[in-house]
């Protein structure tokens, strides 16, 4: 079984541009969460989707948006990129909506904004 897959693996964008990151959860997992991890920090929660509905949103500006598709894959969109958006973006999936028993993470997308 494939794990959580994220694409692209690396991305370089210019300030002000827009970016779309993609995630495919483990087969059968209905919950997808997005996290941002900057160097030297733990991952910070951005969004959670369960059964195609937004279940939670972290403390991120409206430039960040996401959605979940009928096949449970997900996209994270970031508009008007800032230098400070440079980070590793992680997608995690879980079977249920609470994730109380653990998440499976993808390898992430490394976004560099120049």
């Amino acid at each position: 079984d494939a794990g959580v897959t994220q694409s692209p693996t690396h991305l370089i964008k210019t300030r002000g541009q827009h970016v779309t990151l993609r995630c495919s959860p483990i087969s059968g997992h209905k919950s997808v969460s997005w996290y941002q991890q900057v160097l030297g920090q733990g991952p910070q929660f951005i969004f959670q989707y369960y059964e195609k509905e937004e279940r939670g949103r972290g403390n991120f500006p409206d430039r960040f948006s996401a959605r979940q598709f009928p096949n449970y894959s997900s996209e994270l969109n970031v508009n008007a990129l800032l230098l400070g958006d440079s980070a590793l973006y992680l997608c995690a999936s879980s079977l249920g909506g609470t994730g109380a028993y653990g998440y499976t993470f993808g390898s992430g997308t490394r976004l560099t904004v120049v």
Partner: protein, 108 residues
């Protein structure tokens, strides 16, 4: 504001030594999860602890959840170079709240 404080932030030890790292919070969690992350990779789940006072063992790794479900510790016995990595604790509050991590380096 970090909900979870991990200490020490960085630890370097010789192969064969023991080590303990800590994860503390003022919040109560329904569960606490430990992950290990290597450079350029996503975190990998090691264990989930749910019950206050719970102790779980994973080979040479021992995880303990505090009685009040606010803190946890990870003890590694006879550390090996393969144990090198960033150890992250995360509290489950519907979403995961992560600490900054314990960077562990085991020198051969």
């Amino acid at each position: 504001t970090q909900l979870l404080e991990q200490s020490p932030q960085f630890l370097s030890i010789q192969e064969g030594e023991n080590l303990t790292v800590y994860c503390n919070s003022s919040s109560v969690f329904s569960s606490l999860q430990w992950y290990r992350q290597e450079p350029g990779e996503g975190p990998v789940l090691l264990v989930t602890v749910v019950t206050g006072g719970e102790v779980k063992k994973l080979k040479r790794l021992t995880f303990q959840f505090g009685d009040a479900r606010k803190d946890s510790s990870l003890h590694i016995t006879a550390a090996q170079p393969g144990d090198t990595g960033l150890y992250l604790c995360a509290g489950a509050l519907g979403r995961l709240a992560f600490g900054k991590g314990n960077q562990v380096v085991v020198i051969p």
